[in-house]
Subunit: 119 residues, 2 copies
């Protein structure tokens, strides 16, 4: 059973964090049949943190975890901090397939999304 | 002639700012026939700043400016800082149609973009 862990930065504003939880729910509703587990986690400022999010996926029966960074730019968070947090669980579960995907900002489709907003 | 001003936060990393310039070029290439002007600007840390970006659109002949916030969450930047910067030009050009659109994070289509990344 594949799983997705949506990872956002985390905010001091509860409302922003709730927005991520709602987005995660919408991902779950739209995910294909073989992705039955969608969870979310935060890099900092808000729980669940990334290792806990990965643990949740595994406890729900995931055989793989795709960590999807909800970030627009390849800053330190994407380049270093997220991989560091994910590595904690990768060494705890060496046989589990835990991967970090490209971050949101790399998607070609953002151009279409932005054009739609602008019109 | 309609114009789009893509507004990103701005970074100390030149590479991140160049990413925005490239995204703006891709927007220009894909924009519909009636949006002939696409520029980009930054809220802080990097030039052009928002008022300069709006000015550039107007100098290029824009009759309207859609300011599109390239932001994922409705934090202070989206709620207060961007409107404040845009207001400078709105009062300078009271007859020009200068509007701020919804920010990127509001787009329903992000769910599909994220799912595509995860698979």
């Amino acid at each position: 059973m594949k799983s997705i862990l949506l990872v956002a930065h985390g905010s001091r504003r509860a409302e922003s964090n709730q927005e991520i939880a709602r987005l995660s729910d919408r991902l779950a509703a739209k995910a294909s049949a073989d992705v039955q587990i969608v969870e979310h986690a935060f890099l900092e400022l808000c729980e669940p943190l990334i290792p806990d999010g990965i643990e949740k996926c595994i406890q729900r029966g995931a055989t793989s975890v795709s960590v999807v960074p909800y970030f627009l730019a390849r800053g330190t968070h994407v380049a270093d901090d997220i991989p560091e947090q994910v590595a904690i669980k990768q060494s705890e579960y060496p046989d589990m397939d835990i991967q970090i995907t490209d971050y949101l900002g790399t998607s070609d489709e953002l151009v279409d999304v932005l054009l739609k907003l602008a019109v």
